[in-house]
């Protein structure tokens, strides 16, 4: 771990000022990922700007019936918030599928969006990694890539985004409210995370000096027909090999609205409008689910050790859609897959 300066931001504007003043600075809230990375010398911030006391901890209803979630709301508070449990159980399920109770208590919503890949080479400073050290090369492409991406990869990076929460948020069409030196802006969460392309060291489209203020959920919560299914190497406390967020609006057995997103397969939560469109107006049948899976996985490519992910994702998508359609969402407490 390197030595660093510590500043406590007094308000959002102060945090933005502090960020602008020190290009090597990093924001810290719960620190559940940043501190680990600092211990491994992967992150070496010159300054930590503590934003944990900023007034961004509210969960409030918006005028159009949605929910605005402050960036500092702890993951566990969000998962167990009555409005989230009632209206956005997909989000609650995804959060509870991740990490451990202790980590969820510390981790913030904004921090969760900012968490970095678990690629082993990214963590090991003795090996090349374009994400950690631009231009040094990608060790995973021809190395140990069992956990790596099958979609949206580039010649310089095949890392995945490890977040569960983001997968549900993307499926739910969440927005991200961003504050920065030039004011406020709002973008769709699907546009928040980037694909690696030739700049894998840049995870998100958050600009220099910008800070996440809140995440906003639209009104439609898919509280009846949803499921979050996370497939991993042990039954809890492991990152996803593949995870699926599925949300349906059913009219009888006909799908009137569909949302589908994948985790563990790409540099960002993976959503395909084509796959969702292919479900809309169709009957909730396994044929249509398979077709959606094909579309969602269109273009998937495997490396030496992660070929299984393509078939695993295909099957997991189908299963999650069945769970959602039958209103038997995957329990996060009981590990038997419904």
């Amino acid at each position: 771990m390197n030595n660093f300066q510590y500043s406590r931001a007094t308000d959002v504007a102060d945090a933005i000022r502090l960020l602008a003043a020190d290009p090597g600075a990093k924001l810290i809230a719960g620190g559940t990922n940043l501190i680990d990375l600092m211990k491994e010398n992967v992150e070496r911030p010159s300054r930590l700007i503590d934003i944990s006391r900023l007034p961004l901890r509210d969960i409030e209803e918006t005028a159009d019936g949605g929910l605005r979630i402050g960036a500092l709301v702890p993951n566990s508070d969000l998962a167990y918030h009555p409005l989230v449990e009632q209206r956005y159980p997909l989000l609650a399920a995804a959060i509870l599928a991740g990490a451990s109770a202790q980590l969820r208590n510390m981790a913030s919503v904004g921090g969760n969006l900012m968490q970095r890949t678990r690629c082993a080479y990214f963590y090991d400073t003795a090996t090349p990694c374009n994400k950690r050290e631009p231009g040094s090369g990608c060790s995973a492409i021809d190395g140990l890539n069992r956990n790596h991406a099958i979609l949206g990869t580039s010649a310089s990076c095949i890392a995945t985004n490890p977040s569960d929460m983001s997968v549900a948020l993307v499926a739910l069409g969440a927005l991200v409210h961003i504050a920065g030196p030039s004011g406020q802006r709002t973008i769709a969460l699907t546009d928040f995370h980037r694909l690696p392309e030739d700049k894998p060291h840049v995870d998100t489209n958050l600009g220099t000096g910008e800070i996440i203020a809140a995440v906003e959920l639209p009104k439609h919560g898919f509280a009846r027909n949803y499921s979050y299914l996370k497939i991993r190497d042990r039954l809890s406390y492991a990152f996803a090999l593949v995870s699926v967020a599925a949300a349906l609006e059913l009219d009888g057995n006909a799908i009137s609205e569909a949302r589908l997103a994948l985790g563990g397969v790409a540099h960002k939560p993976w959503r395909s409008l084509e796959a969702e469109a292919a479900l809309r107006g169709r009957a909730a049948t396994s044929d249509h689910f398979s077709r959606a899976a094909d579309l969602l996985l269109h273009g998937a490519t495997a490396r030496a050790h992660n070929r299984f992910k393509i078939e695993l994702a295909r099957r997991a998508i189908a299963r999650t859609l069945i769970q959602a359609a039958s209103a038997t969402p995957q329990s996060q407490a009981h590990k038997k897959i419904a």
Binding site: M1, N2, N3, E40, N41, R118, A120, Y121, Y123, D124, A126, T127, S139, G143, L144, R146, I231, D233, R234, L235, S236, Y237, A238, L241, F308, E311, L312, R315, A316, A318, R319, K335, K336, I337
Partner: protein, 734 residues
């Protein structure tokens, strides 16, 4: 008064542990304590061309940076570096000895600072340049370079010919990956230096006297110059049998700087210590159609370092378990640019029996026999390697009791025949076997006239419950309540004990206690009879027992003298007796523990997700001294067996020769969600031949057979035979 031996006695050290009163090696305070942080190599092989610590030394709070070029003297001969459990062949690793890099993660410098954080930061400022050399770390690509190890197992008959002529044959390779130790407590040493320069070394170890002798040799010290203590150990499982490098570094710094020093390794750094070596186990079985065996061959090929030959008995277990007129065993090693492997719970057996028991399951399928029936057909009442009977062997009873508890008779033998909704259900079983060893251990008992006894011994309690069983045996033998027994362990100045390992400490320490207690009984009998008008007058010494804090006539407790009275009349405040245990020399019988393990798995048919929903482990291990800690020990072994079957694997990138999952986020062990019902059955196994108490030890037997039972259950559920461990879900997807 009640007897404690054989009862579910709670841990006598439990309160100290849960309240934090129990101090571990990295927790002992000292005035002016310095903290060392290890700098590790980032290449697997070569030389240190340049090591520049100047930037590190400029960090405020840094006191020194020790390297091979800047350190006090270290012994220059292998004898000094060979601890009591070092491999016979080889030259033990010497930390900071020279510029040679022998494995990735090798310590190459120790940054010493006023606090740990400063040392850790300054460690990032140590600049190292290497002369790199070609290296190899992959067992499978280097398989052809394997060299043979001498094993004690003699071939019997002509296994090759018998195999070729067998009616039914099964041969396969089973691949067990490298697995690393992850005890809860990190490896740590606190060296406390007193004014006269003497060192008290608080070390995480399974053997304080082993470390003591080693340090005296390595640093050319007299025995009185240092003392090694390790009263509590937060798990070790074999990783602490040999002295680990942090103890050398901490003493090195304490000697150089004439200060007290603490070195705590990080979890990541512990992946540079020993491990269960990756092993390719080739098992071939030939059988007659009725299931009797014609031939068994078992060939293991395992990883070792280039500087030491580490090997354990992977292959000989069929000699104990399965009757066959022909057998052939071999063990080979491949030297790689890695650190030396070490013991890990049931070393050899956990891997070798896993392969053997998977192979037996495959043979049972080929023979269309029930797996238990096959094992009973081949059941061996003798250890075939020496053609000896057993002191006791209730393995048949293990099969019967385990099968009954599990409900084995309701098993449909056809794979994929049992299901529950979307899950395939699989039932598998396997046999476990381990040794029942006993080693020289001495115990000192000091009985005071108030009826309290201090029982002391250098043996460690690595979390297994040694404190408790020693207290139980002493309480029974001295006729005192367990609250009156104070057990002192793990101090190199206490009576002799070997490392705590191999499942030998329970029997060994218990009988040392019995020996010392017997001397105390004789002394008390003499004193009691010497009292004027003693109620024990005329009673022969052998008829005198210790019970309820008194010296009494056996069978007539009314004739008794209290310990206090006897000692007062004898004008003794304390009676001190020290005794080395004694076991009758008996090479006429084999000594083993056994188990039958039954596992139920539920496998999601489409997704391959495996849940181990039930395990029944029926264990025959002589008398169980403490059924509560004993049950916990077996459960712990089962949990670890689940990990071996499904989770544990050290993953190395052989292009870099680096372990890529050196942390417990990515190196998976079972979590609570992976562990369901575990039923432990201790089968009654009286054994009056093995030792006075009939004790065998249960440290290892709990894990043996578990991975195979689960793998066999996965086959039964899915029809897929996974021979490369761990069984991850990708291996079940077509």
């Amino acid at each position: 008064m009640k007897a404690y031996v054989g009862t579910p006695t709670s841990r006598v050290d439990g309160r100290a542990k849960v309240t934090g009163a129990a101090k571990y090696a990295g927790e002992f305070p000292a005035d002016g304590l310095l903290h060392g942080f290890v700098v590790e190599s980032t290449i697997p092989r070569g030389r240190i061309a340049r090591l520049d610590a100047s930037d590190a030394l400029q960090v405020k709070g840094v006191v020194d940076v020790l390297t091979h070029a800047h350190r006090p003297p270290l012994a220059d001969n292998d004898d000094a570096w060979k601890d009591e459990v070092a491999p016979e062949k080889g030259s033990p690793f010497r930390p900071l000895y020279d510029d040679r890099i022998r494995f990735n993660g090798q310590p190459i410098a120790l940054v010493v600072a006023d606090d740990w954080e400063t040392a850790k930061f300054a460690a990032t400022r140590v600049r190292v340049e290497y002369d790199r050399e070609a290296f190899a770390t992959d067992l499978e690509s280097e398989h052809g370079k394997a060299g043979k190890v001498d094993r004690p197992h003699k071939p019997r008959g002509d296994a090759a010919a018998a195999l070729a002529g067998a009616a039914v044959r099964h041969q396969a390779d089973y691949v067990l990956p490298t697995e690393h130790h992850n005890p809860m407590e990190l490896y740590a040493t606190t060296v406390v230096r007193d004014g006269s320069g003497r060192l008290t070394v608080h070390d995480k170890t399974q053997g304080v006297q082993n470390v003591h002798k080693y340090l005296c040799g390595v640093f050319n010290k007299r025995p009185d110059d240092l003392r090694v203590v390790s009263p509590y150990v937060g798990g070790a499982f074999g990783s602490g049998l040999r002295p680990q490098y942090q103890v050398v570094l901490a003493v090195l710094a304490a000697l150089e700087l004439k200060r007290s020093v603490r070195v705590v390794l990080t979890r990541q750094q512990m992946y540079g210590l020993g491990y269960r070596p990756m092993t390719i186990e080739r098992v071939a079985l030939g059988a007659k159609p009725d299931g009797t065996l014609d031939a068994v061959t078992h060939e293991a090929t395992a990883v070792t370092s280039r500087y030491e030959d580490f090997s354990r008995n992977d292959t000989g277990w069929a000699e104990q378990l399965y009757k066959s007129p022909n057998s052939l065993f071999s063990h080979k090693l491949v030297d790689l640019d890695v650190s030396t492997p070490c013991d890990m719970r049931a070393p050899g057996a956990a891997s070798g029996v896993c392969a053997l028991e998977c192979a037996m399951d495959e043979l049972a399928v080929a023979l269309k026999l029930d797996p238990i029936e096959l094992r009973l057909k081949c059941y061996s009442d003798r250890d075939q390697s020496e053609d000896l009977p057993y002191t006791s062997k209730q393995l048949r009873e293990c099969y019967a009791r385990g099968a009954e508890a599990f409900g084995w008779s309701r098993r449909n033998p056809a794979p994929r025949s049992m299901r529950n909704g979307k899950e395939l259900v699989g039932w598998g079983m396997a046999t476990g076997v381990w040794e029942a060893l006993q080693m020289p251990v001495a115990v000192r008992i000091v009985l005071t006239s108030n009826g309290h006894a201090e029982v002391s011994c250098a043996a460690s309690d690595i979390g297994t419950g040694t404190y408790t069983i020693v207290a139980q045996v002493a309480a029974d033998a001295l006729g005192l309540p367990i609250e009156n027994i104070d057990v002192k362990l793990a101090d190199s100045t206490l009576p002799q004990a070997p490392v705590e390992g191999g499942s030998w400490m329970a029997a060994s320490a218990a009988h040392a206690v019995l020996g010392a207690a017997e001397d105390i009984r004789q002394e008390l009998a003499r004193l009691a009879k010497a009292i004027p008008a003693s109620p024990l007058g005329g009673v022969d010494a052998p008829d005198v027992i210790l019970v309820d804090g008194a010296i009494a006539k056996a069978g007539d407790k009314a004739r008794a003298v209290s310990i206090a009275d006897a000692m007062r009349h004898g004008k003794l405040e304390r009676i001190e007796k020290q005794k080395l245990n004694h076991f009758a020399e008996d090479r006429s019988h084999a000594r083993n523990t056994h188990s039958a393990v039954f596992a139920e798995v539920k496998v999601d048919e489409e997704l391959g997700v495996i849940r181990v929903t039930r395990v029944v482990s029926a264990v025959a291990a002589g008398r169980i001294l403490n059924t509560k800690t004993g049950r916990s020990q077996i459960m712990g072994g089962v949990v670890w067996g689940i990990g071996m079957a499904l989770h544990e694997e050290t993953v190395m990138d052989h292009r870099f020769g680096r372990i890529m999952n050196a942390n417990i986020a990515e190196y998976h062990i079972p979590v609570n969600a992976d562990v369901h019902d575990i039923d432990v059955i201790f089968v009654d196994e009286p054994d009056d031949r093995i030792n006075q108490l009939g004790v065998k030890g249960i440290g290892e037997i709990g894990i043996v057979g578990v991975p195979a039972a689960i793998a066999n259950a996965v086959y039964h559920a899915t029809g897929k035979r996974i021979r490369r461990f761990p069984i991850t879900l990708d291996k079940l997807l077509d």
